[in-house]
Structure formats: structure tokens, C-alpha cells
Symmetry: C2
Subunit: 352 residues, 2 copies
């Protein structure tokens, strides 16, 4: 603690991302990265961006990328906001739509960055408990609040809430903004994007980090009514005029255009997830019904923390959260088939 | 104005960056970009970053880039913070070191993003008037305050305040953080970096956008006592775990390492600035004594706004600020010699 820190800094408890160790080569199943490389077209586009024009500022409005995204989703350009990873888009959303003093709602088990944003912007919150199977009950969001955010599929559970329930929440809370964090929706969930033209209070946030294999490029975006997008633009333009560099802009455009590549790699991940779940169950794990690029699993007799450490020793990184209700679970990213075969093999040794 | 906007968004008046028009090809002297391309080594590094590893998150701590910067400045790695452009580093600094209710100080004529950050974080401020020649008087900063920020050289004037005056300000305000925005210091000013090991309350902010020809890559950094850097890290890690993408990290490292290239292009810009000033004076301009990569000039008989518009029609973009005290000045970025010769030629026609 330094006397020079602001009151904000003193109260912060920053988010801790999954480790990126360099001590040895791991099978890395701990940060929900895509095991397949990005679209070759996206890679080429990034290389093309590396030229003399790097001396010039990027387009502060990111117009072309917004157009590509708008076209992809059948929306207008003014319904699209882009940012430096979906984390930045989320941060701007907290600043743009939530106020101090009026508690917002989010599930008790979800992306742990949400309470951190609340601390950063001094926003109060109330958590809504998931049921024992980690389902989000829509009914619990039908109460007075200053705004709502949830991830769908949820993290780290992977559980998806069906769209009629999402719509019920959006409809009931017509005077508040409902933010739906769809970082993982591409792996089998149904997107709430189709509700955007019907409700002015829904904001859908996406990322290229998972489904488009571009965690290293930092591109996220938000889709919603033009008024909500304008609010985000006001925050962004009061923070940093140019949040996306030229490489990120060009790489993202091409990644979104290359739908064929994205669908192929996504389908592979879904197919792998479908066999990994049953294999884990055979080994004595309870596995949540995940529609994300990870599974969430708890073993009937061995502690998650022990399994986490044992896997690490064997060169396999998974994510363990030492938090109430989920401290006996592992979140395991879906890697390639050979990586997951290796995981199962190592687990057989540990639990066998 | 939307009913969904937070109170913060409603009160914001976002910053407006210089225009990036696409209607025709301009000689672009309006956003202080470097007229020379980035180091070829930096370009190659960005290309190398465009590979399969883009599927992985970048290093959230930016350790290697920090080490390169630390080594360059003879500092320790924990005295270095890096961000997505110096605008982001500035934004984090306002959040990290300034509090609501205790007005901070900055010059009345300076980078207009400072009051915008104040609005974003609800920080009060008092402006300190420059004298008639746009000098910053150090004595005016020797008063009660909640923190201080100034650009040195200042923008849009280009005027540099000598280090003994900077030190006087830092010394007097030992209980407050003094932020020195050195975006333009590489073009002839003396950096306050040498004061860092002496004073725990000084934070120096830099960018690769101007002197390293990398406006399109979005990399800025801050140098200061490890406690100040830790404060910035806490804000950053409560906002976005990964603010620099893999391309930016690798390009920035190589740009800083290539000091030979940087010195060569910087010297060219200084030499151009040295002849442009007198030429403008011959045409009836009063030109401030700039140590930046731009000059700030006012014509004895023709209005700056008229000159701005006339130059635009002739395919030359400069920056005009319709603001008190400087609404009869033009800020003209130093381009290549041929670009500046063309500027002088066109101005001769307009004012002749």
C-alpha cells in the first residue's frame, strides 16, 4: 500500500488470470484457449498490416471492422462496438450502464472479473445463487436492480440458459441494461443476438479469443441498440481514442470473414468435448453439461486441488478455483484429441 | 442521451482526435505522426508475431517488453508499466493517483484529454495559466493540490520546461504524484527520467507513437518508483488482464532495441523543424520555440481558421483548435522535407 495510491486503487482486488508458465512445456488446458491455430487468412492479414502504415494512427472508429461484424450478424454498423478484448468491452459496459448505489445482479458463480469491475467503478452488486446443478434460474433476476450481467454459457460451469429464459429477464428488466457475455456461445449455445432488434436494453458481448483462436490479438465486441453502442463509444473516447491497433483491426476482419475455417475448428472442439465428458465420467467424475470449449468436473473421491497439482506435475495445466461451492471442481479446456487422450491417460493413473 | 446511460456517460464530453479522412490523399500534418516508417526490425518482429501462437494469450505482465524498456533507461523492470498507447497509460494514471474532491492541477493550454479523464473519473481540476508566450511557470504549481500533470514539451505549443523547474515542482509536491507526459520529449527536450531514482512521486509517461513511428501499434509506457508502477498494475489488472497483443509486444521490443534507426529518423525531423520555423517566420508567422515534432504558429494578419481551411483545400491537413487563447494558431506536424517544402509553397500562395 502506497500513500500515493488513490482511494480506488487501495480498495481494488485485481483479477488473476490463469497462469502462463514458462518453466516447461505444458499441455495447456487452463485458459480456454483454442487448440487450433487462427485462420491462415487472419495470419496473413496481420502480416500485411506490418508495413510502413504502422507510422499512422489506426482508424479510431474501427469502421471497417464494425462493418464486417455488422454484416456477419445481419446488423447495422451503429449496432456494433469493438474493443481491446472482451475484457475491455466489459469494463466499458460497467462504466457506461451501471451506477453506484443501485446494486446490479449477477450469478454467485460466474466470471470473477465482474466483481472486480464493480470495485473499479464503485458499483454495488448482489449475487444471485445458482441452483445445486449450477443452473441459472431466470426467476431470480426478476427483482429490483441497477442492471444485470451474466455469461451464457456461464463460466466456469459451461451451463447454457435457453433463450426463452434470457428473453424473460430482458423483458422484465426493460428499464435496465442486461449484458450477456457470450464469450463461449459459439461452441453450441444459441446467441441472444436475435433479440437485439426487439429489445433496446440488451447488450451482447463477444470475443475472438476462444472460437476464433485469437486470444493473442485482443479483439472483443458488443452488439446492441445504437443508443447503447453510443454510450460505449462515449466511454471509450474518454479513455483512449485508438484501442485497436492496425494489426488487430486487419486480423479480426479476416478472421470473421473466414467463416468456413471457424466452423471447421469449432466443430472439431465440440466433437472432442462430446467424447471427453463420458470418458471423465467413466473415471468417476461428475461433469456439468457444458456448451463451452471447456468442461467443469468434480471427482467422486479425489479432491480437485490434489488433482490439479498432480496434473501439473505431469505437465498438464487445468484451472482450479479455490472459491466457495466450486472448490472441488476443475475447469478443463478442450484441447486437441491427442491432448485430451493424454489427459485421460494421466488421470487414469492418478485416480486408478 | 439515452435513459440507459450511466450518470458518468451522461456527463462525459469525449475527446476528439485529429481527423483521419479518406476522401482524398493529403499531406497529413495534423496528428503528429512520424513521416518516416517504423524500424524495419520492428516491422519484421510484428510479422514474426503473426503465427500460430496468436491462439494463445499474450504475457499479461509484458515482462520481456518491460525488461527491454528498463534496460534502455537504466531502470529496474518493476519501475516500468506498459499500456495500449500512452492514452491508456494516462487514463490508468488518473484512476491510480488522483482522487475526487481534491483538485489536480494542469496548464490551461495542454493536451485536451486531461479534462476528459477528469470527467471520466469524477476528478476535480484547476488549470494553471501559461504566460503570454505559453511558458509554464513552475511557481504556479507550488500550491495545494491533489496531484499534477503536464506535458513536457507541452502540446500543442511545443514549449519545453527545463528540468530544474520540473524538479522544483516534484520536490515541492512531495506528498502528491506529479505526472510528466513526455510524448514529445525525444525531439530535443531533456527527460525527467533521471529524477525517478531521486523522487518517489514522479511518473514519466512515454509513447512509441511519435518518435518510434508506431502510432498504429498502440504502445505507451510509464516510468517511476515501483510503488507507483504497482498502483498502475492494480488498475490495469482490474480492467483488462491483457492490454497489449502479441504483435504490439514484439514490435515494441524491437523498435526500442533499434536505437540507431530511431536516432537517425529523429535527427531528420529535428533538422526539418529547424528550417521550417524560419521559413514560416519569413511568411509572417509567429512560431513558438518548439522542441516537439510539430510547430505552433500564428500569422500576423490571416486568421488561423481560414489558413486551416485553405490548406485543407490544397490537400494539406494541419490541426486547428477552436479554443480560448489558441484559436488563432495552427499546430503543424513536421513531415518530410518535400512535404514541408510543399507546405511552405502553398502557404506562400495563400498569404502572399
Amino acid at each position: 500500500m502506497s500513500k500515493y495510491w488513490s482511494d480506488v486503487v487501495k480498495r481494488l482486488e485485481p483479477y488473476t488470470p490463469g497462469e502462463q508458465p514458462r518453466d516447461r512445456k505444458y499441455i495447456k488446458l487452463n485458459t480456454n484457449e483454442n487448440p487450433y491455430p487462427p485462420s491462415p487468412r487472419a495470419i496473413e492479414a496481420i502480416k500485411r498490416a506490418a508495413d510502413e502504415s504502422m507510422r499512422l494512427y489506426p482508424d479510431p472508429d474501427c469502421s471497417r471492422l464494425k462493418s464486417v461484424i455488422a454484416e456477419h450478424f445481419g446488423l447495422k454498423r451503429e449496432q456494433v462496438f469493438v474493443g481491446n478484448g472482451s475484457d475491455e468491452v466489459l469494463a466499458f459496459s460497467f462504466a457506461a450502464f451501471f451506477n453506484p448505489g443501485n446494486p446490479i445482479l449477477f450469478p454467485d458463480i460466474t466470471y470473477t472479473f465482474y466483481p472486480v469491475y464493480c470495485m473499479l467503478y464503485n458499483i454495488d452488486y448482489k449475487t444471485v445463487p445458482l441452483d445445486d446443478d449450477f443452473n441459472i434460474s431466470a426467476g431470480k433476476f426478476l427483482q429490483d436492480n441497477g442492471g444485470i450481467i451474466f455469461a451464457n454459457p456461464n463460466a466456469p460451469t459451461g451451463k447454457f440458459m435457453d433463450l426463452p429464459f434470457v428473453e424473460e429477464i430482458v423483458q422484465y428488466n426493460a428499464e435496465r441494461v442486461v449484458v450477456i457475455d457470450e464469450a463461449y456461445v459459439d461452441f453450441g449455445g444459441r446467441s441472444a443476438v436475435k433479440l437485439i432488434d426487439k429489445y433496446p436494453n440488451i447488450l451482447v458481448i463477444r470475443t475472438l479469443s476462444k472460437s476464433h483462436s485469437l486470444a493473442g490479438l485482443r479483439v472483443g465486441f458488443a452488439l446492441g441498440h445504437a443508443d447503447l453502442i453510443a454510450g460505449l463509444e462515449r466511454v471509450k473516447n474518454s479513455f483512449n481514442s485508438y484501442t485497436l491497433d492496425r494489426a488487430a483491426l486487419m486480423g479480426a476482419e479476416e478472421a470473421i470473414r473466414d467463416t468456413e475455417y471457424y466452423e471447421k475448428t469449432r466443430d472439431k472442439i465440440i466433437r472432442t468435448r462430446e467424447w471427453v465428458g463420458p470418458e471423465l465420467e467413466k473415471l468417476g467424475f461428475k461433469v456439468t453439461d457444458s456448451l463451452a470449449n471447456f468442461v467443469f468436473a468434480s471427482h467422486k473421491s479425489m479432491r480437485a486441488e490434489y488433482l490439479f497439482k498432480s496434473l501439473r506435475e505431469e505437465g498438464i495445466l487445468v484451472r482450479y478455483f479455490n472459491r466457495p461451492r466450486i472448490d472441488n471442481y476443475l475447469r478443463i479446456t478442450i484441447g486437441t484429441d491427442p491432448e485430451m487422450e493424454q489427459l485421460i491417460k494421466v488421470l487414469e493413473d492418478i485416480v486408478g
